[in-house]
Every structure is written in structure tokens, then in C-alpha cells.
Symmetry: C2
Subunit: 200 residues, 2 copies
């Protein structure tokens, strides 16, 4: 990829904006990341595999999910543009993942090797801080998710989802949003009708 | 606390066993931790406060929970002997917690200042690795919890709980276990009856 093209990517803008990593740094680290085109419905990782890459969504939409014994799909996370996605614990402990990663739209995904983070951290101290903060934000996000599954009504969960992923409402089928929220599609329809009424 | 008493604590044995921190190191770091007696039902942290300490349970049992608008209690975590408890994201981001921490039994709790981790890491490199691994294990644990709330039956959740916290079944009232599992007390009773039948 030419310097000019790289400068225009979400990937470059995301990391340079948050950490001050320069375009020269990116070019030095080029062997640690790789832009790939992923088809709609293509699986990037299967349960049983070890997660080897941090995925940055340049364009499109990915999901991390598990399958139960009856084939039911349970959505852990959506990742639209500018989101990072991985199974951290599979990667860190080098253990088979229990999750799948799939593209919900034709997507461009940056496959980042974990060594990218280490090497970038050596070049730029802000990068190390950013990575550490990202880890803590991840914990915050997971805790909130547990709390919302335990303590929030279907309506509260849906409103939280809308605030977090406003751009996904038109891109993801309703049953998947219900799966993410841990509610039935019928509950989601009811909640959406209630909210529509409240708006008048 | 005398050296001899400190040597006998769970706190010393836990960290020295996992990281090789010596008793001399502990004595050097003594200003960063503090053993306190906590009464049954005493609150250690309230929602709205910033979490300032990492809590190590020397003896007894703590819980981390949230309250909803109707006063319903939602249990994020139990912490019996040798467990660490804190609201990591409140501590890291210096933001008010949404959780409460309370003793479910008369307890002895070590209040650890975050500086303990930093200073111990300077003394002993294994300690830094252990802390990093603990963070990743925490993420693993939170992910599993979300997956169990989304994807597992009441029976599967209960069996997972029994495997993780075998010693708690007789120490915690049933309604609290149901709250932790995100199921009704009635579902929990049904599951327990089913399991009792299966055992014959």
C-alpha cells in the first residue's frame, strides 16, 4: 500500500489520532499488519481455533458470537468501522477460542499481529498507554454488559444499545439485536412499539 | 503486624506463592496494605464512590453488587478467601463506581493501595507478569459470564457456579445465588430438584 493510500485509511487515522504514531512509524511496522477483503458471511475465526490477530474494521461489519448445542447463535459483540475485535483471552493464553468471528457485510479488515502493539509501544510511549487504557475500557464494557443482562429491563438494554451502536439499527437484522441483548425477538418488537408510541 | 504473623496470612502465601515476592519485600511494602476487620453486612464501598483499594479477602466473604431503581440487588461477583475484589474500571478511570461492596460474613480484608502493585513490580518482575495475567484472566472470566448469561440454561449456569465456587453453596442464601445467575429463585429450586433426582 502506498503512503498516500495508507494516510487515507481509518486504520491510520484511528491510531495516529489516539497515539501520535506517525506515517513513518506505520511504514516501519508494515510487516505487522495486513489489509484483507472479507466476503459477506465469511468466517474469519472458528471456535476451536486460537485467535492470532487483532482485527480492525476498516470498512464493513464483523460479529463475535458463540453457538450453543442446538445451533443457537449468541452475539458477544458487533464491530462496525473503527472498532477492534478479537478474543483477547484466547490470544493471551494461546487457548482455543469458544467464539466465531464472521463478516455481516462485505468488509475490509486490518489483520494486526500482536507484535505490532509491542513494537509500536517501543517507538511511541503514548501507544503503550493507549493499549493499557483500551484493556481497561474493555473490562468496563464487559462489566456494564453483565450488569445490563442482570439488572436492566428489555427497554433499558435496547436504549443502551441504540446509544452505543446508533449506526447498526439499519444494518443488522432485528433477531441479531435481540440475541445481543439476551431477549426474545418478540420482546424486542414490543419494546420498539413502546418507544415509537412514547415519541408521539 | 509481626513477621511471624504475616508469614501465616493467606495474603502473604497467595502473593509469595504466585510471584516469589519474599517476606522482606512484604515488609518493605507494608505501608501500602492494611488488614481490617469488617462486620457482617458492613458496606466497604457505596455506588457513587471511587474505588480506591484492591481488596484481598483474608477470611470471610464479600460481594460486589448493583441496586436497580426498585432496590433489586444484582450480584456481579462473590469473593471468598483468597479472592481479590475491586471495581477495576472505577479505580483506573478514577470515576464513581456503580457498584456496592459488602461483607456477607464477618471478614478480615486486606486493603491494598494500587501503588503496592507498582512498587512490587519494581522489586520483582514476576509480579508484573502476574498482575498482567490477572487482568487477562479477569477479561476471560467476564466474557464467560456474559456467554453464560446469553447462551446457557439455568441448569448449566448453576453447574458452572458450583464448579467455580464449591465452598459458597452453604454460605450464601439461595436467592443470592439466583441473583448471581440471573435466574429466578423458583428456577433455581427447580434446577436443584432436577440435579438431586439425577444423582439417584
Amino acid at each position: 500500500m502506498t503512503t498516500e493510500l495508507l494516510l487515507q485509511t481509518n486504520f491510520y487515522q484511528y491510531y495516529s489520532g489516539k497515539t501520535g504514531l506517525t506515517i513513518a512509524d506505520f511504514e516501519k511496522l508494515a510487516s505487522y499488519f495486513d489489509f484483507r477483503e472479507i466476503d459477506h458471511n465469511q468466517l474469519i475465526m472458528r471456535a476451536g481455533e486460537v485467535c492470532k490477530h487483532i482485527l480492525f474494521v476498516e470498512k464493513g461489519l464483523l460479529q463475535l458470537f458463540s453457538l450453543d448445542e442446538k445451533g443457537g447463535e449468541h452475539i458477544m459483540q458487533f464491530a462496525p468501522e473503527n472498532w477492534l475485535l478479537m478474543d483477547r483471552s484466547s490470544m493471551y493464553f494461546n487457548e482455543p477460542s469458544t467464539y466465531y468471528i464472521k463478516a455481516l457485510e462485505p468488509s475490509t479488515v486490518v489483520f494486526i499481529q500482536p507484535a505490532f502493539l509491542e513494537e509500536a509501544g517501543k517507538i511511541n510511549y503514548d501507544f503503550t498507554c493507549f493499549t493499557e487504557t483500551a484493556l481497561q475500557r474493555n473490562i468496563h464494557f464487559l462489566q456494564r454488559r453483565i450488569n445490563s443482562l442482570l439488572a436492566m429491563s428489555a427497554k433499558e438494554r435496547y436504549l443502551e444499545f441504540v446509544a452505543m451502536y446508533p449506526q447498526l439499527l439499519l444494518r443488522v437484522p432485528q433477531w441479531m439485536i435481540a440475541s445481543y441483548l439476551g431477549i426474545t425477538p418478540e420482546s424486542l418488537s414490543r419494546v420498539r412499539r413502546e418507544i415509537a408510541k412514547d415519541s408521539f
